[in-house]
């Protein structure tokens, strides 16, 4: 899907560098449009803080792997490209894992098993395969920044809504007066699906409206 749309954009006008960045944030948003990497999106978006940390960790891995993949594109034969990409991605995930441990034990505990699962986040592999392996380092950095920002944005959208509704707090700060009955289901896995569905609905409505104009 992403390849098709970027291809059509290229035939009209050559994409500018800001376009390379903006497309990930909005037109090809990895979560709301491409619907990629749903496992962490649903699982770690129960609070705004978790969502932000997970989004930033993923964006970092995406950026670093895009840089390495695009700079090594002539060095990697295509028969072993997937193995090489996974190796590169896994390395940066491990690095992220150690770094988060060094930042805060609590944060590491709450993100827990999901950090290592960034390895199999299809968003990162798809950007390596569909973009970074065919483009220059500069463009790949912009692509990774855009896609990463789009992923952080999407996760934050989910996390904020779920925390406010399910816990009555925002970044741990209480929002409602005492006696507020929080909507527990929103921080449970089911709430992730509800919130994602609502956001997808909003995004599709917006896009439909835009295409009619």
């Amino acid at each position: 899907m992403s390849e098709v749309s970027s291809h059509s954009a290229q035939t009209k006008i050559p994409p500018s560098s800001t376009d390379e960045f903006i497309k990930g944030l909005w037109r090809e948003n990895p979560v709301f449009v491409q619907v990629l990497g749903m496992c962490p999106v649903l699982a770690v978006s129960n609070t705004a803080e978790n969502a932000l940390a997970m989004g930033l960790a993923t964006a970092f891995v995406l950026l670093m792997s895009n840089i390495l993949v695009s700079s090594l594109q002539n060095f990697i034969p295509k028969q072993v490209r997937i193995a090489s990409y996974i190796l590169i991605i896994a390395t940066f995930v491990t690095i992220t894992d150690y770094t988060i441990q060094a930042i805060s034990v609590e944060l590491h505990k709450s993100l827990g098993a999901f950090i290592s699962l960034i390895v199999v986040n299809c968003l990162i592999l798809s950007r390596a395969e569909a973009f970074a392996s065919k483009n220059t380092v500069g463009k790949s950095i912009l692509d990774a920044l855009g896609m990463g920002a789009g992923f952080v944005f999407a996760l934050f959208c989910l996390g904020a809504v779920r925390e406010v509704m399910g816990n009555g707090t925002f970044f741990g700060l209480s929002l409602f007066p005492e006696g507020f009955q929080s909507w527990i289901v929103m921080i449970l896995p089911a709430g992730g699906f509800f919130t994602l569905a609502a956001w997808l609905l909003i995004f599709n409505l917006l896009q439909q409206k835009k295409s009619k104009q």
């Binding site: 034969p77 193995a83 190796l87 390395t91 491990t94 690095i95 150690y98 441990q101 060094a102 827990g112």
Partner: protein, 228 residues
């Protein structure tokens, strides 16, 4: 490259291509290995310090009323003062006036996904387990990780009976996890439906650990009380 030529080459890679593939994989592996080791070494001191702080916090949590802790190592027959890096250690907790409030013991065992590391507090006066904290777990989020979040499950560990036989030789009833809602005896842990394996693992870890540590502690209790 022409399509038919490409197909041919893909079917039987030439030795030159083999070397290229090998070079790429070995090169990338070496680079990745180097990066990982670099980060590991770079973050290790800070990670260790944070872990020590977290452990201290956990000790205060599993032995309520503690304000000072002291590390003791078991040398085969008795307890001697030691530092954090010694083998076979327990943490004795004292209140402001130096009374022994309890002993925190680290234990670990196989869970569902990986080794679970826990810390529990033992009160020699009451002969009870009085606190429990999960130090490290990779259990399935939403299911197995209930062992550190489920309030009903954690309530098991405010008073879990580990009384010793008269000769102080062994714990009379080994701690064991039972099916949710069927707890009848004070040494049983009420399990979690949906986290059966993880909650059973906790029972086994505590059961086995108390079998060895509780008699050891009781035989040397005076020494610990005197804070020697």
């Amino acid at each position: 490259m022409e399509p038919d030529k490409m197909e041919q080459e893909q079917a039987i890679p030439t030795s030159r291509e083999n070397i290229k593939m090998l070079r790429a994989m070995v090169g990338i592996s070496a680079l990745c290995g180097f990066l990982i080791v670099l980060t590991y070494e770079g973050t290790l001191p800070r990670v260790e310090r944070l872990r020590a702080e977290a452990l201290e916090k956990a000790i205060f949590q599993v032995i309520p009323g503690t304000s000072k802790t002291k590390v003791f190592a078991y040398d085969g027959s008795t307890f001697i003062k030691a530092d954090d890096n010694a083998a076979d250690i327990v943490y004795a907790g004292y209140d402001e006036s130096g009374n022994l409030m309890g002993v925190a013991i680290e234990a670990s065992g196989q869970g569902y996904a990986d080794i679970i590391k826990i810390l529990y507090g033992y009160d020699p006066e009451k002969q009870h387990i009085i606190g429990f904290y999960v130090l490290e777990t990779k259990e399935t989020p939403g299911l197995g990780d209930k062992i550190e979040k489920d309030k009903d499950f954690l309530a098991n560990f405010s008073a879990l009976d580990v009384s010793l036989s008269d000769d102080m030789g062994k714990v009379i009833n080994q701690v064991v996890t039972v099916k949710q809602g069927t707890k009848q005896n004070p040494w049983e842990i009420d399990g979690i439906t949906g986290a059966t394996i993880s909650s059973r693992a906790i029972g086994n870890i505590i059961g086995e650990s108390t079998m060895t540590w509780v008699p050891r502690i009781n035989k040397n209790l005076e020494k610990m009380k005197r804070n020697e």
